[in-house]
């Protein structure tokens, strides 16, 4: 039982906490609960709420479009996660190994991450343009006579989105990995060098194991980010052509805020939450096999 004295004692703290707690309740907890309830309803935002049970979830699992979107999300993750980890790791190792002007390059590599996504994406749109784009111009110069229509070809649109996302995010993950690399004791490398270990051996027997905790953290973050990709898709392809680059979070947005189908969008959002949670759990389960504790 809370005594009056306790109340008096904690009142100032509670008063200070109140705005944050109220904000959390109003803008996080209640919407999360409300979205869960809505996932069992049909609600066009300007219409009445109609409860439909599991119908939204059943439609997700039976609709070819939803299944295509889930497939796209998995495909995007399969490109983005290894791509962004490989590039950020390469950049981090490069910077950690005494690259000249490393402070400049650290800033340069990080710059895309803090630059407006829309501005970046519009530039990439021009780069990817079929007839007037820089990329196809370069490809034609080196002999590819019929380079892809990057944003108009269903086979290339999603990789194009992933390329831009990898380019943009690599600087952020590079910083995380660079921090991890700088915690590795240099004497370990020195000992290996004295023992005659070549750079590649030092990398996979010292760097990778000792960086595995940072890599695990980066892996989880990259997985979550890959399921949340939105701005680049919106500005680069708008989910097209023919839904080829529509991933789950973009599809949720389209249903909720373009088509106003809040019930279906809520069910999709909970599916996304479930899939992300499941993948994260699986990663945690397998962590002990490769993360050096």
């Amino acid at each position: 039982m809370v005594s009056a004295r306790d109340l008096r004692r904690y009142a100032p703290a509670m008063l200070f906490l109140l705005p944050a707690v109220a904000g959390l309740l109003l803008f996080r907890i209640i919407p999360i609960i409300w979205a869960f309830a809505l996932s069992f309803a049909e609600w066009r935002i300007f219409d009445q709420v109609k409860w439909v049970g599991l119908s939204n979830y059943a439609h997700i699992l039976s609709s070819p479009v939803s299944l295509q979107v889930l497939g796209n999300t998995a495909y995007y993750t399969a490109i983005y996660v290894p791509g962004v980890i490989a590039l950020s790791l390469a950049l981090a190792v490069l910077l950690n190994n005494g690259l000249r002007s490393s402070a400049f390059f650290r800033g340069a590599f990080f710059l895309p991450y803090i630059t407006s996504t829309v501005a970046i994406t519009l530039t990439w749109r021009w780069i990817f343009s079929t007839r007037f784009g820089l990329l196809n111009h370069l490809l034609e110069t080196i002999g590819w006579t019929d380079p892809p229509a990057w944003l108009a070809d269903p086979a290339w649109a999603l990789p194009a989105v992933a390329i831009v996302a990898i380019w943009k995010d690599a600087g952020f993950f590079m910083l995380l990995l660079l921090a991890g690399l700088q915690t590795i004791d240099p004497t370990v490398y020195e000992a290996a060098r004295i023992d005659g270990a070549r750079p590649w051996r030092r990398f996979h027997t010292i760097t990778l194991p000792l960086l595995s905790r940072s890599l695990f953290f980066v892996l989880i973050l990259a997985l979550v980010r890959s399921t949340q990709t939105f701005e680049i898709t919106y500005a680069l392809t708008n989910g097209g052509p023919n839904r080829a680059s529509t991933t789950l979070s973009f599809y949720i947005y389209q249903n909720a805020f373009v088509q106003f189908d809040m019930g279906y969008a809520s069910a999709l959002a909970y599916l996304l939450c479930f899939v992300t949670g499941l993948v994260t759990l699986i990663n945690f389960y397998f962590r002990r096999r490769w993360v050096y504790e």
Binding site: R131, L151, G239, Q254
Partner: protein, 424 residues
Amino acid sequence: MKILRLATLAALAGTCGVAAQEQVTLRYMQLSVPALEAERPVIAAFEAANPGVRIEAQAMPSSEYWRSLSARAAAGDLPDVMAMSSAFVQQWARAGNLSALDEYLAEVDTGAFYESALGFGQVDGSTFAFPQNWVAPVLYFNKDAFDAAGVEYPTTAWSWEDFRAAAKALTIDENGDGRPEQWGFWFDGRYTNVEPWIFRNAGLLLTEDRAAIDPTPEAIKAMEFLVSLVMEEKSAPMPKDLEGIRPQDVFGLGMAAMWVDGSWQIDNNRQVIADQFEWGMSEVPLGPDATEETARVYAWADMLSVTKDSAHQDLAWQFVLHMSGPGRQASDFPGGKVPAYIPVAQDRAWLEEGMLPAEKSLLLEMGGKAAYSGFSDDWSAWRGYGASGSGGMNGELDEVLNGRKALDDALAAAVAYGNDILSR
């Protein structure tokens, strides 16, 4: 001059016969910021004619408009009068957000408005939106390119074979690299590019009750004709080859000699083309399966609706009428927007003589024909906008035009997708 104009508008507004009321604020939402700015003097005239009435007008970019209005509908906070589109009137009316205007219409000389434009606001036999202006797709053509190729300008007597031959003659590949410097025609799978051909061949994509997608043979023939221009005749480009160029600029940049799109593109053409070349417009050629009696003019309207919860229904209607009819003048509708109020449309000033295109009167002739809007519930989703992720019929037709899918397969996929949406 501005004062004179305001005074004239005030006098016109007075003809609406709105009784003076005491300190009433009408909230009005327009879906285009430039449109609202153009309407400011007309709104001021209404206020001047109705002492005690204040119009609280707001506008937002069309991309935000429906999202914002939907949220306001959910919160029970809709304005008294809102701009309405032909594509959304069915959903909004059936959701119970709009007032039926039938009683008011009984007191209006509807004969002074384009009949087809009035029809665009009807849902289930009642009128829920009143037209301000209407637009329709037309065939734009580059007169200089026609002259250079020695091809006669398009006329309303053109058949599809005439069009096919002209497109072929106007396709010019100067260096023979397989990438023409000038295409005879260009289009993609969007509604303004495809549906005009379907309706001019007396075809339909939707069933009569607009509850399902079921393309008629005439509609399929129109699509086959269009596809043949790309895949067989090579007189129109694949959409992927033009990726990176704004669709509305392809014609203006001289990359294609002909283009079918909405009459609102007149403004854009004027800006992009400037004085680079002479251009004109004609009606989309009549299809082989249609006669002038069975063919439909594809058109739709910008409209205004009174919302159901407005506390000032009568006044809101008077405002709608003022903004749509006698309160307007020809200069309020530059370019390809045709005033729904016939006396304003027939004002010589609307023709903008001395500016291109010289054939604006064509739109007035089209206004006298049977029009069809082609919209249904969830149209934007099944057609390939909205939640479709550039899929739907847009995406499927682009697949065909990019050579990746057969028309039959694409249509089957688009129909299945669309009917799944409509059945929900």
